[in-house]
């Protein structure tokens, strides 16, 4: 993974010093609340319902075991010994003290980490596929490009006070999009043109929140050398012309929609004409330099399906189940990608205790070259596990609570922290996740239902991506009471779509039984091997709606 040089290190240390001074001035009343607010947000610090929340960047989800140990250690000494992995591959601490944050940042800097631009109206952490670099059907490894974008966006002097937050995600596979790129402000799809040159399909104006939209293509192919000048052009147009009168209409999607993609593209091209070929054009030497950080680890020459694996697959249904659900094909023979799920019943989705973080770091050292990734679905990934060691890893993962074999199934939910923590939330989301986990605890049944994305958000800000869940649950406030609206038919991959609202919202205790009714409709209507989303697309919303709102006889 990327290693800081003296310059990168100096920049994060200077940021710590700057933030330390800003915090000091705020605590001395030299900086007003109103002035400190965007300054602290630009460094990931929110003031939440009960305590501040610090969002630590995990650039494009890459984490070393040493970094994860540091996070575990920080969570013990400055917080309540746990953290929450978010959908944008970051880690959130829910209980730090404001006056401790500069010290936390200084400790993060020791392991090349920071909280730069994890919030605020600026360019946020760039995200990508958690399987980057280890799958066979990838055009190229997206991580060097993510790092290029990270450096370009870090302390970009022109774009620190945009109309609204700005999120970029990168995908590099034709077959799938695990980074939900089409619901980002900019989605980048790495591809090769007919001449074999690397470039990007650029998608703009996707996003969730109050006005969910799937992005539209602004450029079919932008050569990689032009990436940064093209991004500068898009964001410069947005910075000047995006709405600033209403925060709910300030995202780039609203501008793109208002102008239409043709006109928006025309304006971006007019701006780009001045920037193209200028100094920010990326030379080959920089691509080579960055790619050098992501070269393959020292794989051994192995074969697929060694005896140690096949015999256990034959003898242990539990292991076979875990292997089928929670591991993924690796490009290197004899290796496998393993997801350590953070979806154990009784634990909030995406939460990890300090002990679990320590354990995951140990597992990474023992089984996966000391590196991990964080996924958009709020799980951890060991990318390079020898197949002959899978049984050992499974045993260890079970002990640590990482082996719930439900990856991609109904109970592998995406869930925001919700009203238990977040000041913005209208309703709690974690108890809904817990209720669903308790109700749907029969693995055979879950396997029979197959792949279903269920996403839960506690409010319209949609941190739990409810719009793009096959099933989405949104917390709403009805005269001071918490209710939940259910949507159906959303998707976040290459077939991205925004779910449709089923109808009037439900009380908290009704949710599981409604989900059960929806599952019954699916099971009754599906054809062989048909996924939930495909059945929905074929039969439409009506039978689901009828079942959900049918009066009991």
């Amino acid at each position: 993974m990327y290693q800081y040089d003296a310059i990168d290190q100096q920049l994060v240390e200077e940021r710590v010093a700057q933030f330390r001074d800003q915090t000091r001035r705020y605590l001395n009343n030299e900086l007003s609340e109103q002035e400190f607010l965007p300054l602290r947000l630009q460094n990931g610090l929110y003031v939440q319902r009960y305590a501040p929340m610090l969002r630590i960047a995990i650039p494009y989800g890459m984490l070393s075991s040493a970094q994860l140990r540091k996070l575990a250690d920080i969570s013990c000494r400055y917080d309540k010994s746990y953290g929450h992995f978010s959908t944008r591959q970051n880690l959130q601490l829910n209980w730090p003290k404001i006056e401790d944050v500069p010290d936390i940042l200084a400790e993060l800097a020791e392991v090349q980490m920071h909280a730069v631009q994890t919030s605020g109206n600026c360019i946020r952490n760039t995200t990508t596929d958690q399987y980057a670099g280890v799958i066979s059907d990838e055009t190229v490894d997206p991580r060097p490009y993510c790092e290029l974008i990270r450096q370009w966006s870090t302390f970009h002097p022109e774009f620190a006070f945009l109309p609204r937050k700005f999120k970029i995600a990168v995908n590099a596979t034709e077959s799938s999009d695990r980074a939900a790129t089409q619901v980002h402000d900019i989605g980048l799809h790495i591809k090769k043109n007919e001449a074999g040159e690397i470039g990007f399909k650029v998608i703009v104006g996707g996003g969730l929140g109050r006005t969910p939209m799937v992005g539209v293509t602004i450029s079919e192919f932008t050569p990689r050398a032009d990436l940064l000048t093209y991004l500068d052009a898009i964001i410069r147009v947005y910075n000047q012309q995006g709405r600033r009168d209403n925060k709910y209409k300030a995202r780039i999607k609203i501008l793109v929609k208002a102008l239409g993609i043709e006109e928006f593209r025309k304006r971006v091209d007019a701006e780009w004409a001045h920037l193209k070929g200028k100094e920010s054009t990326v030379p080959m030497s920089e691509f080579d330099r960055l790619a050098g950080f992501f070269s393959a680890p020292a794989y051994d020459n192995l074969t697929n399906y060694p005896e140690a694996l096949t015999s256990k697959l034959a003898s242990s249904a539990g292991f076979a189940r875990w292997f089928e659900r929670n591991t993924f094909e690796h490009k290197q023979a004899g290796y496998r990608i393993v997801t350590l799920t953070l979806k154990k019943a009784g634990q909030a989705p995406g939460d990890a205790t300090a002990e679990q973080m320590q354990k995951a770091a140990d597992l990474a050292d023992k089984f996966s070259f000391g590196e991990l990734r964080v996924s958009h679905e709020q799980n951890l990934v060991l990318a390079d596990v020898r197949q002959e060691q899978l049984v050992d890893l499974w045993e260890a993962a079970k002990q640590a609570g990482f082996a719930t074999p439900t990856l991609g199934l109904l109970t592998d939910m995406i869930c925001c922290p919700g009203g238990d923590f977040c000041a913005l939330a209208n309703a709690k989301s974690i108890p809904i996740a817990a209720q669903i986990q308790e109700t749907f605890n029969d693995l055979d049944y879950l396997y029979d239902l197959g792949n279903i994305d269920l996403n839960i958000s506690g409010c319209m800000n949609a941190c739990g991506h409810h719009h793009v869940g096959n099933l989405g649950i949104l917390g709403v406030d009805k005269k001071g009471e918490e209710f939940y609206q259910i949507s159906i038919g959303g998707a976040s991959g290459h077939d991205a779509s925004i779910g449709k609202i089923l109808g009037p919202s439900f009380a908290q205790e009704e949710i599981s039984s409604v989900i059960q009714k929806l599952m019954n409709v699916y099971v009754a209507n599906r054809s062989e091997e048909e996924r939930f989303i495909d059945t929905y697309r074929r039969v439409g919303i009506t039978p689901f709606k009828e079942a959900a709102y049918a009066k009991a006889n």
Partner: protein, 158 residues
Amino acid sequence: MPKLIKNGEIVDNTYYWLQGAEQAATANSIVPAQKWLADKDSIGDIAGIWLEAGDGVEFLQDVDLKQFQVIGINFPAFTDGRGFSYARLLKERLNYQGEIRALGNFIPDQLGFLIRVGFNSFQFNEEVDLEKALALHKPFSIAYQGDVSEPRPLFLRR
């Protein structure tokens, strides 16, 4: 005389920021760009113009900017970042060489970025302590991106 920060020093503010369109312009006035556009044949000697957020810089494309000693850019709120792009475009696109002055509700913690996009003078709100503000002018000793004083990104210099 009121003070301001200019080219890294605290100096006397010799210009007058003319905010209302109805006020008469003098040789040391910085007048609203829209007023100047409307009255430019009769307005006489002025120090320069100032842009409101939303004005953009396109209308200055065919204007001889050498006639202005100063171009001001107003920040209606410090979180309104349009002025960052305006300054950069004045400098890099329109090749304006004169003073670019930040006006309005920007704050000292923005100085570093404001300088990098081309501002060189800063007329803060009255309550700002200029000595303390000046100390914040360079939070970072190096930058990844190019900017108006060093157009080459770090990857060309690493």
